[in-house]
């Protein structure tokens, strides 16, 4: 039980990577707050965990782009399980689109969900982490944030920004017992990959798999395991780093 006695808040935990991370954290003894923009999905994942694990989970609805919603989320989480010790900023969206077809609204939405959401959630929990002199913030970058990719300008920009944010925050809190790191998934089998890539999903996925040296997609468990390592006491000296399970796609 590597996270016994800890409370973890995971955004976008109603599916995919967030869901797998929530499940693994609960198995490792953390009380888990499953946050998602969909109330139904958040509650479903919490119910799954409560059926199978010793550690409890609660499902809460929140749109991470809304300051008030994030404050309310953290308050509800604290009244359930006490101050947040571990935050996984995982909520994200994907879209494959030529630059000229990206509307200003789509651009803004991409930046808001990833960047503003990460900022708001981190800001809402960091005070308690400072008070406890212990905290873990894990942000979700992407290999796309490091390599870029065609029809991916807004997504890659948002993901690269998350890396800059991660490093600055790591330095700011290096002496407060708080580590701040990012996980940069390669191509992982999730609902987002299927939805975000639209009708061409199969073609897009094939295109990328041919470029992954392992010739396979990762699974949500691969990302959850990276988060678990970073969340644990084992990674106490690791901060400002980007951990990238990507099958050798980017080395």
């Amino acid at each position: 039980m590597r996270l016994a006695g800890k409370t973890a808040l995971i955004t976008g935990a109603g599916s995919g990577l967030g869901r797998a991370t929530a499940q693994l954290f609960a198995q490792e003894g953390a009380c888990v707050v499953v946050a998602d923009i969909s109330q139904r999905r958040a509650e479903a994942v919490a119910a799954e965990i409560n059926q199978t694990n010793a550690s409890p989970a609660i499902g809460l609805q929140a749109d991470v782009t809304q300051g008030q919603a994030v404050s309310a989320l953290v308050e509800q989480a604290k009244s359930a399980y006490g101050p947040i010790n571990i935050l996984v900023n995982n909520a994200g969206i994907a879209q494959i689109k030529d630059l000229l077809d990206i509307t200003p609204e789509e651009w803004q939405r991409m930046i808001d969900v990833h960047m503003k959401g990460t900022f708001l959630c981190t800001r809402a929990v960091i005070g308690d982490m400072i008070a406890a002199q212990w905290g873990r913030v894990m942000n979700t970058a992407s290999v796309a944030g490091m390599t870029g990719g065609p029809q991916n300008a807004h997504y890659a920009a948002a993901k690269a920004a998350i890396i800059g944010f991660t490093r600055s925050l790591a330095l700011e809190y290096a002496r407060s017992g708080i580590t701040v790191n990012a996980v940069a998934p390669g191509l992982i089998e999730t609902p987002m990959v299927k939805q975000g890539t639209g009708p061409a999903a199969e073609k897009v996925v094939d295109f990328f798999i041919r470029r992954i040296p392992m010739r396979q997609m990762g699974t949500p468990r691969d990302i959850a395991a990276a988060h678990l390592y970073l969340a644990s006491d084992d990674a106490a000296y690791v901060t400002g780093q980007v951990l990238s399970p990507n099958g050798g796609y980017l080395v």
């Binding site: 390669g186 395991a225 990276a226 084992d234 400002g240 951990l243 399970p245």
Partner: protein, 250 residues
């Protein structure tokens, strides 16, 4: 989590410091350990510690710069503990010499131990990993490979060489079930670092955002993660526990 339970791990330079602590951490995770070091007494002490964790250990005196010695050791290890599943190539030296004072021997010795030593160990264990269709090769680079360091040209060059070897091997082996990754320690509180003048250590500590040296455990746990079943999609990566001293773009 399956972690490293039931695996056989070979660790070089395991007679002290990071190598010794990693042997203990992997043993606690359920692995048997082949403990090699150029100093047999150190290796035997580590083997004793592994045994106390309830796992099998084999202590061997090995100079990693000697390919024949490495091959002999892996053959014996295979005979006594079974095929090697995990290699942690950790043996290293940390001399400081100004570039203008550096002899050809200083330079060659540094490369013999670090880069050739890593190459020798990879080469010796790879065939059995290929047969098994599963393996974890973990090398030891250094934060210094990316930042440089004064009186450390030979060290930084060798450690950067290890990073190159690691990423190239990762690509080459990506479809074989074998992952290849490196740890790149920051300044860690080990006998190797403690050999430096106290003044240097103090000065160095002030430059670390966390304002403290890392402990051997910090690296051992990073190795344990990379060695685990769960890190199967991680390959060609360099994991650097360094207290925030260096944040690489990737």
């Amino acid at each position: 989590m399956a972690g490293v339970a039931g695996r056989v791990a070979l660790i070089t330079g395991a007679g002290s410091g990071i190598g010794r602590t990693t042997a203990q951490v992997l043993a606690k995770g359920g692995a048997d350990i082949v403990v090699t070091d150029i100093n047999l007494a150190g290796a035997e002490e580590t083997a004793q510690a592994v045994t106390e964790c309830g796992r099998k250990a084999l202590a061997l005196q090995v100079d990693v710069s000697d390919l024949h010695a490495v091959e002999t050791a892996t053959t014996q290890a295979h005979r006594e503990l079974g095929a090697i599943d995990i290699l942690f190539s950790n043996a290293g030296i940390g001399t400081q010499v100004a570039f203008t004072d550096m002899t050809e021997e200083d330079w060659e010795h540094m490369f013999d131990v670090h880069l050739n030593g890593t190459y020798h160990c990879f080469r010796a264990v790879l065939p059995e990993m290929k047969t098994a269709g599963w393996g974890r090769l973990i090398s030891t680079s250094s934060m210094g490979a990316f930042t440089g360091g004064i009186r450390l040209t030979h060290y930084c060059a060798a450690k950067a060489g290890i990073a190159g070897l690691t990423v190239a091997m990762a690509s080459e082996l990506a479809r074989t079930g074998i992952t290849v990754n490196a740890v790149a320690p920051g300044v860690i509180d080990t006998p190797m670092v403690r050999k430096s003048p106290e003044r240097w250590v103090k000065k160095m500590t002030k430059t670390i955002p966390m304002r403290k040296l890392g402990q051997p455990e910090d690296i051992a746990h990073a190795v344990a993660y990379l060695a685990s079943e769960e890190a199967g999609f991680m390959t060609g990566q360099i994991l650097s526990p360094n207290g925030g001293s260096y944040m690489k773009w990737c």
